[in-house]
Symmetry: C3
Subunit: 146 residues, 3 copies
């Protein structure tokens, strides 16, 4: 069974590494701008790095969850590919946001689009599985037989 | 194996859609009350929407994790049902909190109760599995034979 | 298949209980220091409890994700053990941070080390699986035959 998830597991570990990198950037920014916990406010340069990591952390579980559902129910390869694109987009988001608030927008739209694709894959895959299990209907076969 | 998780996967995708809806509400509130990132403070109307989404995001991974453990180890159908109740409760929480701070309380208690049920299911299911695997003891059979 | 994840599922439920405990501490602190939602600022005593829970919540999905990948691809027993150590470290983190900001540092370093071990396990496990599936190469056998 593990061979059906090994690629998305690989993307998952890369995602964890990316989150670790973002966290480290917040720790460095705390030192550089002398913002000691529990405070979270400081110069805009600090707040942009802080919020960039907060936003990425907020979406990280959503991304991983939909990546796995899409990988299990639709296609491992396509999902892993979308996963890589998302991680790349988040890296651009973090860098763009850290530079200036406006810099977060283009990569955010890109990431959102990738998430919608994964949501679409998941919905299709689950629908197909439900038809197979509960209606004994194979959508794939049906589509190809038309 | 996928037929054993297809219902909770369906609830999971609905949860992701709900989180997407909450995020969009924050983006609209940011525009409406002119609160530009990285700032997160503004009029109470904005802060309630912002915090409602933050609170839902904080609990989302916990919810999904316990939903899957409960679905895998206890009962898929019952877990999926609890999942739908939780998502409904969170929608009420978001709307209630956005209107006034007090409006978040009743739905929050409801959601917390659903989570405790899922935690209970998970604990029972894991206990049963452990007895079966490590003590070769079938609790279900034992209970029905008494 | 469930016997291969029952231990990490057990650690997962313990983690969920720990997060519930942290959330309750924030609710008590809100009452004690009269910090009504949506506000998140108050006396330093409150802010330390608030941030301690926020930080634990931020890392919780990352921890659970890497726990499961490591448990599935490397070793269930070792991963579950690391999981227990992490949960213990997070408890110390919360208590230390609540007392004084500096008290968070030693447990945080400990938790970070445990996470790195789980990341290492996951990477090794995934690499091994990939070699097996895609190159038909069994690294374990190779290592033991040298
Ligand atoms: N927590 C987010 C939820 C919505 C969201 O993802 N917003 C995008 C577009 S405005 C963003 O980049 N937010 C910046 C931030 O979270 O600091 C927020 O506060 O804005
Ligand atoms: N992060 C939460 C943790 C505890 C919690 O879930 N509190 C409930 C009841 S006071 C809540 O609705 N909090 C509002 C909020 O998070 O803004 C908090 O700051 O309060
Ligand atoms: N969100 C974290 C990301 C980095 C992190 O984990 N920092 C550690 C070491 S400075 C911490 O304990 N932060 C305290 C906090 O999050 O309140 C932060 O704001 O600091």
């Amino acid at each position: 069974m593990l061979d059906q998830v090994v690629l998305i597991a690989g993307v998952t570990v890369m995602g964890v590494l990316e989150q670790a990198y973002f966290s480290l950037q917040v720790i460095y920014a705390r030192r550089k701008y002398s913002v000691s916990p529990p405070s979270t406010s400081g110069p805009p340069e600090f707040e942009r790095v802080f919020r960039a990591q907060a936003n990425c952390s907020e979406y990280f579980p959503i991304f991983i969850i939909i990546l796995w559902v899409s990988g299990l129910f639709f296609s491992q390869g396509l999902s892993a590919l979308c996963g890589l694109l998302y991680l790349y987009g988040r890296y651009q988001y973090f860098r763009g946001y850290a530079k200036m608030a406006h810099g977060r927008l283009a990569p955010l739209y890109f990431c959102a689009k990738v998430l919608w694709v994964l949501i679409g894959f998941s919905a299709l895959g689950i629908l197909g599985s439900m038809c197979r299990f509960y209606l004994d209907l194979d959508l794939k076969q049906l589509a190809s037989s038309i």
